[in-house]
């Protein structure tokens, strides 16, 4: 089996993979980074979103071999080393943007990618950007609110809670 080498959350990572091994399988099974989740098998749900070279990617849509030599950021690498939450993570916490937590890693990674591209998105822009992330618990209300709050917007007046 060929070996792949990449940088994951700032540290070198390598392992033997089959040609068909997906990036998400490599992260979960070989590196034991189980924060990245698998919620579907058709690249729809977005629970597996990670960043590859700074871009949001569904890790079920990429072979591990394709990630050779890249910089990968997963949910485990988002908070500061001392445990301080990233502003997006903190906003999800403050605004109850998660319930069962299963879609949450993908939501956070997508939200971070959105805010990197568009630092002050409107409600419609947030909703549109999350087209590839499905949540079954929150009705998206508090996710959208959290992302807008993370961008520094005043969300208290958006809608009654």
């Amino acid at each position: 089996m060929p070996q792949v080498n990449m940088t994951v959350n700032g540290k070198p990572a390598s392992g033997d993979v089959e040609g068909r091994t997906l990036l998400v399988e490599f992260l979960r099974d070989s590196l034991n980074l189980t924060g990245t989740h698998v919620g579907c098998d058709t690249s729809q749900c977005g629970a597996c979103v990670v960043h590859v070279n700074g871009k949001a990617v569904k890790a079920c849509t990429m072979f591990a071999a394709e990630a050779e030599g890249t910089e990968v950021l997963t949910i485990e690498g988002v908070a500061a080393p001392d445990g301080t939450l990233d502003p997006v993570q903190d906003a999800f916490h403050q605004h109850h943007g998660l319930q069962c937590g299963f879609c949450t890693p993908g939501m956070v990674m997508s939200a971070k990618a959105l805010l990197a591209e568009n630092p002050k998105p409107t409600e419609a822009e947030v909703r549109d950007y999350l087209e590839g992330n499905i949540c079954r618990c929150t009705g998206y209300h508090n996710i959208v609110k959290a992302i807008m709050a993370a961008s520094g917007q005043d969300v208290e007046t958006i809608a009654a809670e």
């Binding site: 729809q44 999800f92 947030v126």
Partner: protein, 789 residues
């Protein structure tokens, strides 16, 4: 002022820390040393006779450990059904065998035929492709009414027909209801379909079986809402493992919505195979497999008639429903269209006579069971749709018609066997009218009309029976289980507390909310309390979480156990302060002697309990740990009034939700932030059903909506911001917290609200549309408009 702790505070969730940083512990994150992987080979036809399964080539494939088929489980029990319904004629329902792996026949697409255990997941999948199946296609029975015709193909050859049961409720009222409808001044009739859904918790199901040869103990890690129930059902009825040799662990679970209540064949397989192969066996469901194997939902075809007198008072309701059971009876399937549906057909109204007939039907489809609301959304949908239609036929205001018929005095015994303990439906409607800005609707509609769009306002009232519980009652109704809940409160020597609850959190936030209650009762900080749940090894026998029952039943058990703790702690405090127990007061974590300045802290008392040097040993035992089992004497009855404004584009048929406003009565509320979130999620599921979601089979039983490419899950851009309000509820009259439960309300109240709004919008365009079935996809709306023109 918002509270910053205890009951009524929006305490932030402590669960978030692990979920936001990727260090949760979901079942698929559990990997045991030496584990093997199982892949299930599933039927690709809806109905067929198994003439042969040739596994010889597959068995020699790399990594294959063993291949199991139905023959390996002929002596195992049937996957059991936990509820027995008795029909109109006093006969018990038909209850066919549900094998772990298909025996002789396959009965739905996805029915498991063989289980391949291999060293890796990929090897198991590869070997499955090498199994040669000889399956003779049989005609599939998909349509419920066709399934009941004489001579229809039978799903189960050993049964007389496809009718599981023909249920009448209240059967003794049938004649009186028929007479009332015959003599009514006006009768409104509506035929509708409550579309089949797939629950789709975002975490697919997973099971990991393990066996310890040294102790003879089995462990099953599984994605369950109720691990004790799985232990009982699987141990006692399927695999014959005594409960003391079987541990079931449901760790972090990524949503359930009902679909993870049931005992599934894959759980039994992994538990069995781990012993048989002497190594852990893991199964991780793919989403495609989940569409073919998770219990599905709703799927009722209903005719409802509402009779009114000359003054528009409701005089009778009569319904006839066909309820799809699928190919086998899932754990609670028979209870959904019967007791969880018929008992709510009075709704919020004084209708004196109600008769509900339900024909439950076997078809060659995936089994159907509870999904968020479970029977109550189906009841609410038909009742609130027919009331809206009646208002239109009679030319009266739909809100006034509802108000006129509201129940206004409590307790109120309905003609369908339940007694509402509390409520105030007029107050809910008042609140809704204000919060939804009904006064501004006309202007908003006029604005839409300028651009050729139609705007509609839909409203809806509902009541639900929650806190699914009273064992004596559900036992009479056919439940084969008690429905109490349990809690053990373990106070540690240094004053910290561990609460072991029989409830299970899979997104509801029990780890945050339950400590708020205990903290409030003792007057200590929430951070001193930890919640354990989900592991049968360290929690008392509990019934788990569904039916909005956690805080109402599980929370009440915890209150009772905490009361026992406080009573004992007062005795210890009295001893320490050499005072009479009757004079001891507990406030803010301090025990004081009334009228004196004597006090001891919570921590002094807890330490004394475990270091009993100065202790009333002649009166009480050392230690501070208490268990309570709470079995309430009634359901709880949350109620609500919802309003929705939709925009309909008559050119394309596209419906968008412009505003959605709720006024809910959940009784007292422990954590308003979490309750808001529960309502939001329920609304999205109901709006999803109304606008988007549809589980569809073709006439051969092939599932057409078998992935997220075809099954339209609600996404962020399908939803508006919601305006929700649950302030000033009427407290539940019979549980210690006065709570009613909030998990299902949004899903129960939203479907009729949306459809009432869509019909209102279309009617406003001068198009006489009486009804449109869910989901109101653009194609369906456009077609309905064209047909009605």
């Amino acid at each position: 002022m918002p509270k910053d702790g205890g009951i009524g505070a929006s305490s932030k969730r402590r669960e978030d820390a692990r979920f936001l940083t990727g260090i949760g512990n979901y079942t698929d994150d559990i990997n045991l040393h030496g584990q093997a992987y199982v892949h299930f080979l599933r039927s690709d036809v809806a109905h067929g006779k198994i003439n042969g399964i040739d596994t010889s080539t597959a068995e020699s494939m790399p990594g294959v450990i063993r291949i199991f088929t139905g023959k390996d489980f002929e002596t195992a029990g049937s996957i059991p059904c936990g509820w027995q319904v008795t029909d109109r004629f006093g006969e018990v329902m038909k209850e066919p065998r549900h094998p772990i792996l298909a025996e002789g026949k396959v009965r739905h697409v996805g029915d498991p035929i063989a289980a391949i255990v291999a060293e890796t997941r990929e090897q198991a999948r590869d070997a499955a492709e090498a199994i040669e199946l000889d399956i003779e296609d049989l005609p599939a029975v998909i349509d419920m009414k066709a399934a009941l015709e004489d001579g229809s193909t039978k799903v189960h050859d050993d049964l007389s027909d496809n009718l599981c049961f023909d249920w009448g409720f209240v059967e003794e009222n049938k004649q009186a209801v028929d007479d009332a409808i015959k003599s009514a001044a006006h009768v409104t009739t509506l035929e509708l379909v409550n579309n089949r859904l797939v629950p789709n918790a975002m975490e697919p199901r997973v099971a990991v079986g393990d066996f310890n040869r040294g102790t003879g103990e089995h462990t099953l890690y599984t994605t369950s809402q109720n691990p004790h129930v799985i232990r009982l059902l699987m141990g006692a009825f399927v695999l014959n493992i005594p409960e003391h040799k079987l541990r079931v662990v449901a760790p972090d679970v990524g949503g359930g919505f009902g679909s993870k209540i049931y005992h599934y064949a894959e759980e039994a397989f992994c538990t069995y195979a781990a012993r048989e192969l002497n190594r852990p066996v893991k199964w991780t469901c793919t989403r495609s497999e989940a569409f073919l194997s998770d219990a599905q939902a709703r799927d009722h075809v209903t005719k409802i008639e509402l009779a009114l007198d000359a003054d528009n008072n409701f005089t009778a309701v009569r319904t006839e429903t066909y309820a799809n059971m699928g190919a086998y009876l899932s754990t609670f399937a028979p209870s959904i269209p019967t007791w969880l549906h018929g008992t709510l057909m009075a709704g919020n109204y004084k209708t004196p006579l109600v008769y509900v007939n339900v024909k439950a039907v076997f078809t060659n489809t995936v089994p159907v069971d509870a999904y968020r609301g479970a029977g109550r959304p189906e009841a609410t949908y038909q009742l609130e749709r027919v009331i809206d239609k009646a208002a239109r036929e009679l030319g009266v205001d739909p809100i006034a018609l509802r108000r006129q018929n509201f129940i206004t005095e409590f307790p109120y015994a309905t003609p369908v066997a339940v007694e509402y303990d509390s409520g105030d439906f007029n107050r809910l409607m008042d609140k809704l009218e204000a919060n939804a800005d009904f006064d501004g609707f006309a202007a908003r509609r006029a604005e839409n009309e300028k651009t050729g769009k139609l705007r509609g306002l839909g409203i809806n009232c509902f009541i639900e029976a929650c806190g699914i519980a009273p064992s004596h009652l559900v036992g009479q109704l056919g439940a084969r289980a008690g429905l109490y809940e349990s809690a053990t409160v373990r106070v540690n020597a240094t004053g910290g507390i561990t609460v072991m609850t029989g409830s299970h959190s899979h997104g509801q936030g029990h780890e945050t909310v339950f400590p708020q209650v205990v903290a409030d009762m003792i007057g200590i900080d929430e951070s001193m309390i930890e919640i354990e749940h989900g592991d049968t090894a360290n929690t008392p026998m509990g019934m788990g979480t569904y039916g909005s029952r956690s805080i109402a039943v599980g929370g009440s058990a915890m209150v009772r156990a905490t009361e026992k703790i406080i009573n004992k702690a007062r005795k210890i405090a009295a001893h320490l302060m050499e005072a009479a127990e009757a004079d001891i007061e507990l406030k803010d974590g301090q025990f004081t002697v009334a009228g004196t300045d004597k006090s001891v802290a919570w921590g002094d008392v807890t330490l004394a309990a475990y270091v009993p040097h100065n202790y009333p040993l002649e009166d009480i035992e050392p230690g501070l740990e208490e268990t309570a089992f709470y079995d309430p004497n009634n359901f709880t009855y949350p109620a609500g009034a919802y309003a929705c404004e939709v925009e309909v584009d008559p050119e394309t048929g596209r419906v968008t939700i412009e505003r959605f406003t709720t006024a809910d009565d959940f009784g007292n509320v422990v954590n308003p932030m979490i309750v808001d979130g529960q309502v939001h999620g329920g609304l999205a599921q109901g709006i999803g059903q109304a606008l988007l979601e549809n589980c569809s089979y073709d006439e051969n039983g092939q599932l057409l909506s078998a992935s997220y490419m075809d099954y339209a899950m609600p996404r962020a851009d399908d939803m508006p911001f919601f305006t929700v309000d649950h302030s000033n509820g009427t407290p539940c009259a019979h549980n210690p917290l006065g709570v009613k439960g909030c998990g299902e309300a949004g899903a129960i109240g939203s479907c009729p609200t949306v459809i009432n709004a869509v019909v209102d919008a279309v009617q406003s365009g001068g198009i006489n549309l009486d009804h449109i079935d869910m989901p109101v996809t653009p194609g369906r709306v456009w077609q309905a408009i064209q047909s009605a023109k």
